[in-house]
Symmetry: C2
């Protein structure tokens, strides 16, 4: 049994390790264009910030460890074609002008995602960076060290983590975001508070330009000129493009593998594509939203790991299903925790739910405890079924705890009334006697009736 | 409509406030033996520790605020009898030799619980303390200030919080616990780790004597002599009896109100007793365990608040049910968080579940984050149904988050397989890419099959 995996960051590395454990006699190979496998992309902002001193701390499992456990790693090796009829792939080593034809019994596509690059004239400029691979992270940190002013294009999760990293390193930052506020995946009553917090907690180093996009990046090193669509112009030392990601599906598409409506590879709950013996998992694969049961594409390391595990079990002859995602996410800016699960109100309305919401701010601990902080929680429910649809929480207090609590409820279609009955833990250093989550559910219940 | 409430700490205060909001024209009275109403008993260890400087910070709502909102507070007033046939109570002011007969339309018993006092000869000694009321807390702090060595009898939640308070004040502490480890409500594979942590993090000020009880307290001020059942003897300056609590049910029992098998007042989900127009809620009332559906008595401030709310709605003519408890609890000792929900393994076995468990230790955040700590998580499931029965977590990392997440699952009878599918939030400062909860569920799944 020869298992070939294309890509080796999160999902690919997981499939390899788990397959070898499930089926020790299998021959397992990872092919990747990258210099590294099995690393935490999510940790790179903290390496850039300086919280983590050495980038090799981000490597979960070294190439030597993989090889020692009998897994063959082929770095700097591009897979240029899949030939499903012959059950072969075509591999081109980056450093050689040769093509290898490699047979497989089971093929796993774990090609991940790439930064979405807007169509700037000057995109090849060395001072324009993206952040996906470990090499990107190492280069970005080196670039940052030489810059005084950094421009971030886009205001998603990674962009916010990068602001924190740059501010820690005393860099001036201008961020350009096309939406009215950063983190446009959240509802505006939450994202506006996040933006306010960032501006108030960045030592006056950060400027955010909203409702605008970069139209041109002109000039050469050492100084670039940014021109926005609204005609605003300024000089910068370096640009990070963090304007979203897209799944790497080209070789899959080319081989006749079905692509879903989200643009990612369509898979069933066993991580199987439409072509026999070809699987896909991780950021290149489409997911199902467990609330709306609609296709969804949220590329996250936690999901990639779970899909990798499920994929390996099925590849090795077992049976396991990946049921889908809830859109859970968390990030930190300085002391502010930002967390969400399920549908936002705007997503719910778009999906034709009769969404009702409540947005309250309350203490995260007993008010008399010295370490008490606030949490703002938004809870969204469907007026017809009374089912909870999603939640968003931010605060210097423990926002994430409340969101994970909601996540489990979402999995089982919890109603607002049922959520009121949850027996959450209580002691003064941990919550108020009526937790903000219960308070929010109580208010939402009266709104529903 | 005249609503009379006996007791005014958590449940009683909540019934009063909520009833007045639901039915502004109602006449609402609280009768209590105490000098205070509406305070946080749970906060007293932090007042004793010195984390909270003034005890009045523990008062949630002052008597003046109650009176201003039209709620009549009668402190230092003992209710000596309930006369259900006449719909009257008999009140004896503590400071006067008189008895008042007060009529009610609806009567709410919220008499709380008292410290269980073992049968020592010398129990009236001024240097023997308990901790239930705010007056107890104030006296205990004054007592502590004069002591060098303090003996704690019993090793439950409050005892552990008091060790922290005493160690912070540089007092020597000897704790005597009849079980092999403190926190005997937890399974021993967890409670043993807690005891180990306490001993290792108490500046050598704490000694714990297990498998023994106090048989006698002899002597007079300023020094008491403790003699244990095993014949061990030592001198101490002060004793805190924290050997459990018992519900205050005497007047209820005397009035013919049904007492449940747990010794607390039997109520239905509307908080109604067996006698029309008499309700009970808070620590004096029996609860239903939502997992086993058996009567249970876990007196906690969070439950008392919820029951008070439900009680008030029903008292005022609405309809609301209190579904029960899950046995969720949390406490902190120094940096260690200790949290549980649902049944322990020993409780599950006692209730004839075919309990299987897993106990794992894992990092609470990505391993490369500077603030990473460990969490130990025990997950218990039923072998026949695969349903999760309970969880316990301890650690200097975020243990409580994982337990609240399980709580919601328990409410809905989540299985081990379903728990694996939960989409928990992930970012390096918050969890590992496969959260310890998911890892534990994955291991438990393989144990079940």
């Amino acid at each position: 049994m020869k298992i070939i995996i294309i890509g080796g960051v999160a999902a690919g590395a997981k499939v390899a390790a788990k397959s070898k454990r499930e089926l020790p006699e299998a021959e397992v190979h990872i092919y990747t264009q990258d210099d590294y496998v099995s690393y935490s992309s999510c940790g790179m902002p903290y390496y850039i910030a300086g919280d983590i001193k050495d980038w090799d701390k981000l490597i979960v499992r070294s190439i030597e460890e993989f090889e020692k456990s009998g897994i063959h790693i082929h770095t700097r090796s591009e897979v240029t074609k899949i030939l499903p009829a012959d059950k072969k792939i075509v591999v081109k080593p980056l450093d050689k002008e040769e093509w290898q034809f490699i047979e497989y019994d089971k093929l796993i596509i774990a090609t991940g995602a790439s930064a979405f690059i807007p169509d700037f004239a000057n995109i090849k400029n060395k001072r324009i960076y993206t952040l996906r691979s470990l090499n990107d992270g190492i280069a970005l940190k080196e670039g940052m060290n030489k810059a005084n002013h950094i421009t971030i294009v886009g205001g998603g999760y990674i962009a916010i983590e990068l602001i924190e990293a740059f501010v820690k390193n005393k860099k001036k930052v201008t961020l350009i975001e096309r939406s009215p506020f950063v983190l446009s995946m959240l509802d505006e009553d939450i994202s506006s508070l996040v933006q306010e917090y960032i501006l108030a907690n960045s030592n006056n180093l950060v400027k955010i330009i909203n409702n605008d996009t970069v139209s041109e990046i002109l000039g050469e090193e050492p100084v670039l000129d940014i021109v926005t669509s609204k005609g605003y112009g300024f000089e910068t030392d370096m640009v990070v493009v963090s304007a979203g990601v897209k799944p790497n599906v080209e070789i899959a598409k080319d081989a006749g593998i079905e692509i879903g409506t989200t643009g990612a590879i369509k898979v069933n709950s066993r991580m199987e594509t439409n072509i026999k013996d070809i699987y896909a998992c991780g950021d290149c694969a489409e997911k199902i939203n467990m609330i709306s049961h609609t296709p969804s594409w949220v590329p996250l390391g936690s999901t990639a790991n779970k899909e990798g595990r499920v994929c390996a079990i099925n590849v090795c002859g077992g049976v396991e299903d990946f049921e889908g995602i809830l859109g859970s996410a968390v990030l930190r800016y300085d002391m502010l925790n930002i967390s969400k699960t399920g549908l936002t109100e705007k997503e719910a309305l778009k999906l034709n739910y009769d969404a009702v919401s409540v947005n309250i701010t309350k203490r995260d601990k007993a008010g008399y405890m010295p370490e008490v902080k606030n949490v703002t929680l938004k809870l969204i429910a469907d007026k017809r079924s009374h089912k909870i649809l999603g939640a968003q929480a931010i605060g210097c207090g423990d926002a994430d705890k409340r969101i994970n609590t909601v996540s489990v409820g979402l999995l089982q279609g919890i109603t607002v009334e049922e959520l009121i009955d949850v027996d959450l833990t209580y002691a003064p250093p941990f919550s108020t006697s009526i937790d903000i989550l219960i308070s929010a559910a109580q208010i939402l219940k009266s709104k529903l009736n």
